[in-house]
Amino acid sequence: MSKSAYDVIVIGCGIVGAACALEFARREMRVAVIDREIVGGGATAAGMGHIVVMDDSDAQFDLTRYSQQLWQELRPELPDDVEYEPCGTIWVAADDDEMAEVHRKHHYYGDRGVPTEVLDPQDLKKLEPNLREGLAGGLLVPEDAVLYPPCAAQFLIERAQKHGAHLRTGANVVQIENDCVRLADGTTIPAEIVVNATGTGAPELAVGVDIKKRKGHLLITDRYPGFLRHQLVELGYLKSAHSVSSDSVAFNVQPRRTGQILIGSSRQYGAESSEVESGMLMRMLQRAQEYMPALGSLSSIRAWTGFRAATPDKLPLIGPMAGEKTKFLASGHEGLGITTSLGTARILADHITGSQPAIPIDPYLPSRLAKVFAHA
C-alpha cells in the first residue's frame, strides 16, 4: 500500500464494510479496506442472509426499507452465487394477540407503501403446507428476500476494487489514530477518514462504544426442494429480540435456493465462546418443530454459531464517533446487517461527502447514546 494517505480506510470487510467500501470507491475516493481474516468471515458468514423490513421503530423501518430498495435495484447485477431469492417473509401468528399484531403491521406497512397481505389459517396452509394446524394466520411481506451473505460481501468488495479500492486481508488493526490506523505488526497506514465496520469488534478499537455480542445458533438441512417457500418468522420473535437479558429462541426458517432449509434463531447475552451449545440448539430446534413438525424428519448437516453486534436501542451506530470528525462507526446492526448494509453505506457516504442522505442519519448517530467515546 502506498504511503500517501487514503481518503478512507474501512476496517472490517464483512457485508457492511464491503458495502461502505463500494460507496466510497464509487464516489472516486481512495479507499482501503482492511480485515484481520477473510472477506465476510464474521457475522456475515454466520447469519441467515435475510433482507427484511422491520418496524420496531420508525427509524428501523426507514433504514430497512431504504436498504431493501437498494438491494432490489442491485438485484439484476448480482451474480448467481449470491443466490438472491425474493421468497418473501410470512410473519406467523399463533394466537389472537399475535393476529392483532399482524393487523397492526399490515396498516403500518400499508401507510408507508410496503405491500403486505393478511393471511387467514387457510391461506397460511395453502402457502406453507408444512406449518402445523391451529395457527391463527400471518402476514405475507412479498418484497422480502434472502441471499447468501459471504458471496454478497465478496461481490461488493470486488466491485469496490474495480472502482480502485484496495483490499488487505489477514491484517489486524489494533488502533485508530488521528491520521492513520496502526496494525498489529506495528506498521501504520495513513488515512484522512477511518470507518470502523468491525461488528462485534468495534469496542476493541473505540473505548466506550456500547456494542454487546449476542450469540446465535443456526442449523442447515440437506436438500428438500419445495418443503418451504417463504422465510417464516414467528411473531414471538419480536419478544425474543426485545428481551434484553435472557437467552431466548424463536421460530425462524428460511429456504435456500439449494433447497436446503436454514433453521434459526436464538439469542444469548454474555456468551463468549463460539462453540455450539447443546441446550440452546435443542431448544431452538424444538421451537422450530412446534411450528413445523415435519422439520423433525429432515436430515441436518451442519450447525454453527455467530455473534450479532447489539446496541442498547436496537439501532445501528452510523456516523461520527461522539466528539470526532474523522473517525466513524458503521456497526451494531444486530440481526439486520445484511438488510441494512447498503443503506448504511449510502447514508454514511452521503453524510461524509456533505450530500443529503435519502433518510435522516440522526437516529443512528453514535452521539445519541450520550456517552463519551474515546478512541483506544
Binding site: 440437506d222 436438500r223 428438500y224 439449494t258 424428519s297 436430515s299
Partner: protein
C-alpha cells in the same frame, strides 16, 4: 431364506441376491443412484456410508444411503433425486 428377492427400482422390478444392499440393486437395475447439483449421474464411491453419493429415495424417504440399507421384498426405490 430365498436366494433372490425382488424390489422395485424406478417402477421396474429387479431381482437381487438375498442380503444385497439397495446400492447393489440399483446397480443391477443399471441405474445411477442420484443426480448431482449440476446434473451429473452419481453412484456409490466409498461403499461404507460416508460419501453420500449413493443416496436414493426408499419408500418415499429421501436421502437414504443405499449402501447401508439391505434390500427387502416390496421396497420401492426411486433414483435420480
Amino acid at each position: 431364506m430365498p436366494d433372490e428377492i425382488t424390489i422395485v427400482v424406478d417402477d421396474s422390478p429387479v431381482r437381487v441376491p438375498s442380503g444385497a444392499s439397495v446400492a447393489v440393486a440399483v446397480a443391477i437395475a443399471g441405474r445411477a443412484c442420484r443426480t448431482s447439483v449440476t446434473g451429473e449421474p452419481r453412484g456409490p464411491l466409498c461403499g461404507m456410508g460416508i460419501c453420500f453419493e449413493c443416496r436414493v429415495t426408499i419408500n418415499n424417504i429421501p436421502h437414504c444411503r443405499a449402501c447401508q440399507v439391505f434390500s427387502e421384498p416390496g421396497m420401492v426405490v426411486r433414483t435420480g433425486d
